[in-house]
Symmetry: C2
Subunit: 492 residues, 2 copies
């Protein structure tokens, strides 16, 4: 929409043609993150992103509290010896830890290294051992919000992945395995309510294969969202840790029968910054950002069409509308800058993902109307001035649901059933997610998973949770009888 | 109120007799923090404290945004070389820095040390240099909320001081010194609105003497709150950095006249966890926690007086009241546990600082009334059932203001004017804050300040801001003509 002679500020590559290039431009041009910070893999999150991320944290925390989790704040540093209490955990996380070894002018060297937490099991469970004494203390449900640090070698992409990210982690202890398993179901329900409904990102929950579990877990369930490029991005996972940690950390309780027993632990880690990345990647288009209505830093922008003679009249109508919508609780502002044309303003606020634009020109004022344009579907309509508030209310109620519906269709359209390896290769090459038969999710199946990874770059994501799935006769790789139906996709 | 044979759970020492002992018991018995974490100087914040701290962060962030600050999220790590750009800053902070020197299994050593941020000037201003180009970009007002780490040698006390604490820092750039100075005034206004009005903690703002400024600052203004022990605790400070950082970090802009100029920077750092500590120290009493109404995790507790025959009737009336108050937006619950006596419940919720207790027994139900007790003044009244909601509303409106009023009286009562050094010694020994004449706030005055510190343990806090003060003829130490009126107190 930029006029002649105006510098090209929009995104220059199409999301369909070059997802990576598109995402980089989106992050830069919508001013979401700055990658020029002078430590590799660390980025600065800019206000437009942070305003949405803060809303996401607040909504997620409220939801967790409504399910009985209480908040904690734990230290960010963990003594190295804590990690060594669970063998698989230390093996899995040590390669990724940033270590604090000294303080001050350098004369103070710590006797043991202190980890910048990559995750908090080994900090929390030492304390859980002190806090939990009796069956009366159970169930014990806690969460904390904060930063974690992982020295990952994978390519960093802002929000998706980075060496510091921002998450919530919930950790729970139960008297019985059945209660712990019920918590896993509850975690998945919370995930659908938050990421599916509130953030409009459709997900599938998978039980991960044995070779792809959280270090120290008995069972890992993880949500995958499908991006437009056909790659999945892993969103929250919830882990059944059983008694793997409660035994070495002595998270035990005296039961009603007077006997000491170990608690069953579960943990759940929604990475809000990563969810934000997935959300903007999935909803955004070639014009810029698209955000769920509730998460947009600015929900309604009013753009006056200004001419010298009618300027006062038009601005006064804009301010009336602003006051009315602001009074109803919307985040709204009039963009009255006089060094930008209306077209430039339209482009700028489309780039920023403002859900509703109201245009008011002198003819509109005369006719007692305004133009209302919605960001996600570019729908434009003339609305009588008395109907503006009701129209915005209608849009606000439907907006996020419409985003979700659109993405759910994309998801379904990209799911391909495959009977043979060559079908699988073609489907993956065409940016799809594959459903197929597979020999085993136990360790013997790993060779077949490696074969898929080597030839196509795609991974076995696991078997779908909570839904009876189509049966296949044979493993798509080795041809042995298929014990499982699994999903295969490339991932970020 | 605990009955015979009940284990003593209350605080066993009086706040007036032994403030330190009282505070330690308060933190432990109200379950606010656990000091048993296995790194020295690091503590775990427990749910009852975190619920209030989260409300404090949200209220403070909302206030800052209403004054035009936008949120950022910066990396927690800062390259050592950034610190070296401002000489006084590196000198002031290096002794307190935790250093990350390696990652993973230890083979990866970083070429330069990475600081866990003790404060973010040197991370932010590198980026400000990129983000600010023209006068159009100014004023530039940003804030972030997060953890900072300082390897301090002073004794750690939970919330007051610790090696990791939780704060907000706001950093601003202006085109002129006058605008920067106006920001300092605004920061002090915000502090009074938040800490004074919302958290009910009376403060005085001081301009600190030259020898007690933030490393790299031109001028430091800091708020002090007075505790019951007569010691002050420093609450937020706001610093005029002038161009001390903008020159080495090249935070510059092209002005309207086409010339490159350096920005004037200010920074402001409300440490929420420390403010929480001051708040509970100042409001708490020998029965436990006292909290401003809005910050209490639970605002109203309803305690039924249960007997077998009337149990159902009493519980049903309690639930009716709960539903009514919950519907009006209060955080409220019925404590129907049957393994605790009413007296035990009273003590427990007094310890936790619940502002309003409603007691309902069978006689109350018969008479159509309830007993309402307020935490801060132990006031007890019988209220007709139809008046309960209105009574709670009245209490909620007045509660926090009454707390503030009580503390303001304590503050005034502990401020003593002194003409001589012996008067000062006595006043400090009697747990007061002293107002006196002083030779100079410039560096030559430091010797007199040291003399006070050596003989009494008290410090010169600076001169009061924003109020015409009483004049003294002579410096209380050296007897030279007094250029300033300063305040002297011991501090945490």
């Amino acid at each position: 929409m930029a006029g002649k002679g105006v510098k090209k500020k929009g995104i220059t590559v199409s999301k369909d043609d070059d997802f990576s290039g598109w995402y980089s431009e989106l992050v830069q041009k919508a001013e979401l993150a700055d990658l020029r910070y002078n430590i590799k893999g660390f980025v600065c999150y800019m206000p437009w992103a942070v305003m949405s991320i803060k809303k996401m944290f607040a909504a997620y925390e409220k939801k967790l509290e409504s399910y009985g989790h209480l908040p904690l704040i734990m230290p960010s540093l963990i003594p190295e010896s804590n990690f060594h209490l669970e063998a698989k955990h230390v093996e899995g996380f040590t390669p990724e830890v940033f270590w604090v070894t000294e303080a001050g002018d350098g004369k103070k060297k710590f006797e043991e290294r202190l980890a910048l937490r990559p995750t908090s099991e080994t900090a929390l469970y030492k304390m859980f051992s002190l806090w939990i004494q009796s069956y009366n203390d159970l169930p014990f449900k806690r969460y904390q919000s904060g930063s974690v640090w992982r020295y990952e070698s994978k390519m960093t992409r802002p929000f998706f992945r980075g060496r510091e990210f921002h998450w919530i982690e919930a950790h729970n202890v139960f008297a019985t395995l059945a209660e712990a398993e019920a918590q896993i179901i509850e975690d998945m329900k919370i995930t659908h309510e938050m990421i599916g409904d509130e953030f409009a990102v459709p997900i599938i929950f998978f039980e991960r294969p044995k070779w792809d579990m959280f270090p120290g877990a008995v069972k890992t369930h993880a949500a995958d969202a499908l991006t437009a490029s056909g790659k999945v991005i892993q969103l929250p996972s919830t882990h059944l840790l059983g008694t793997n940690f409660s035994k070495p950390f002595d998270v035990s309780f005296v039961d009603k029968d007077g006997k000491k027993k170990y608690g069953y632990i579960t943990c759940y880690g929604p990475a809000i910054s990563r969810i934000y990345g997935a959300m903007i990647a999935i909803h955004g288009d070639d014009t810029g950002l698209v955000l769920p209505f509730e998460l947009a830093p600015l929900q309604v922008v009013i753009v006056p069409i200004l001419f010298d003679k009618t300027k006062d009249m038009v601005l006064s109508e804009c301010e009336r509308i602003e006051k009315m919508l602001s009074g109803s609780g919307y985040s709204v502002k009039v963009d009255a800058r006089d060094d930008k044309s209306p077209g430039e303003k339209f482009s700028e606020w489309e780039m920023k993902g403002v859900p509703v634009r109201i245009e008011v020109g002198p003819k509109d004022v005369e006719k007692g109307q305004a133009v209302i344009v919605t960001r996600h579907d570019s729908n434009k309509e003339f609305v009588k001035k008395d109907d503006i508030e009701k129209t915005v209310l209608d849009i606000s109620k439907k907006f996020t649901g419409q985003l979700k519906e659109k993405q759910a269709k994309n998801f379904d359209g990209r799911l391909i059933d495959c009977e043979t390896f060559s079908e699988l290769e073609k489907a993956v090459a065409d940016n799809n997610m594959v459903r197929c038969g597979f020999c085993s999710m136990e360790l013997p199946g790993e060779a077949c998973a490696d074969a898929i990874k080597d030839k196509t770059g795609a991974e076995v994501r696991g078997k779908r949770v909570g839904k009876e799935d189509k049966k296949f006769a044979k493993c798509v790789v080795c041809g042995k009888p298929a014990k499982e139906t699994v999903y295969v996709a490339k991932s970020y």
